[in-house]
Symmetry: C2
């Protein structure tokens, strides 16, 4: 891997890392010799967590030329067959440069993602991780837990409608990628899971006590809340 | 409502009830006078729960001509604008006739749903409710709780990718309809919620302890479990 990575990086103008986030540091260390004499190469990534990737980038010989990026697009599919030239079109891409990142590197990175059709925005890495725990990592955790629960009911096979299909679509995602995201963003995810637990508890109490008004209010709040989260997407 | 229902039922060959399930008994009672002298009218419904609907059907003057039905199709949309002539095509429709239902009524009801393109199967009403709590009611409960949780994080607005969109699509469903489903299938839903709680707890413990192997196994199990649930759909 180290030899391959070095060979790929030598002579490049741009190095864009797309690996499970916990492999980032090893790959950066493997790339370091090839990038030592290349102070103008822009290094970026597409990982789902940013604070850990930013820390790993200190292993680069020119960390000020690294700009972390997270395009908010993707599907449950992975590998070359899942390639889609329109994947980033009209989707947000968050850049999380470190305080010492070169402004020119940030501009170059933004230009790369804009060329792929993305809407670029700057974001603090820690704030990115906290917010993505809610809008992305928690939905994945929930989809995994829901798929595990329903599949435990053997006779349920074949009986699902479109609701189960969609709520668990992302449960078909790559286990290594999501293991790494969950480990890299542990505290923020645990916080999001705790808040979900609170909402599930409120829903369960309303069901258990047969409180129709509370149930109707809960569902209406969820429905309008979803609208607010979706508003403002590019 | 009573007058409208009676007027609609008078002279009909088929009465198909599509109302929030907890309104079923009132509508049946309102229909009773119009159906008293019509022993050949087939009465059916399209509700998401069946044991409660079956019990409510005892209020009909000819309950042996009632056959409960649940087409496993639908979207988060409701009302006349959401009509879709292909909605039931290739989708399963479960019939849950009572023990004293006329075989001819069951056959007629199956023919109606087959004419709409559905794949018809018979099912015990209590078993239906137990299984649907897992494949349908639990995903809705989870989508509501997830939407409520994420929308509690104000700055998350606009940052969601396709994962949140799909996992919460059914959170846009009608509050009255789902309030009624949750109340009508209370015990089975509480059982499903408890099992989900167990899976979420296992996932949370793996995240909290940084157990990468356990996380990877959990996600892989969810992924293959989802495949099993989806297998055998018509």
């Amino acid at each position: 891997v180290a030899d391959d990575a070095q060979a790929a990086a030598r002579g490049a103008d741009l190095v864009l890392l797309a690996v499970p986030v916990r492999a980032t540091r090893d790959v950066f260390e493997a790339l370091a010799p090839a990038l030592a004499d290349a102070p103008d190469v822009l290094v970026t990534d597409a990982g789902s967590t940013k604070a850990d990737v930013l820390a790993a980038a200190r292993a680069l010989p020119h960390p000020e030329r690294f700009v972390g990026a997270h395009p908010l697009a993707g599907t449950e599919r992975s590998g070359p067959d899942a390639a889609d030239g329109a994947l980033f079109r009209g989707r947000r891409c968050l850049l999380t440069p470190a305080a010492d990142a070169r402004p020119a590197a940030v501009e170059e990175c933004a230009a790369v993602w804009r060329a792929a059709g993305a809407v670029v925005e700057l974001c603090d890495a820690a704030e990115h991780d906290r917010l993505l725990a809610f809008v992305s990592h928690l939905p994945h955790a929930v989809a995994f837990a829901l798929a595990a629960t329903v599949s435990g009911e053997a006779r349920a096979a074949g009986l699902s409608g479109g609701g189960f299909v969609d709520t668990t679509r992302i449960a078909a995602s790559d286990p290594i990628m999501w293991r790494d995201v969950f480990l890299a963003n542990r505290d923020a995810l645990l916080d999001a899971l705790e808040r979900l637990d609170g909402e599930l508890g409120a829903l369960r109490r309303a069901v258990a006590s047969g409180d129709g008004d509370a149930l109707e209010r809960f569902i209406a709040r969820a429905r309008s809340g979803r609208e607010r989260v979706l508003a403002g997407r590019p």
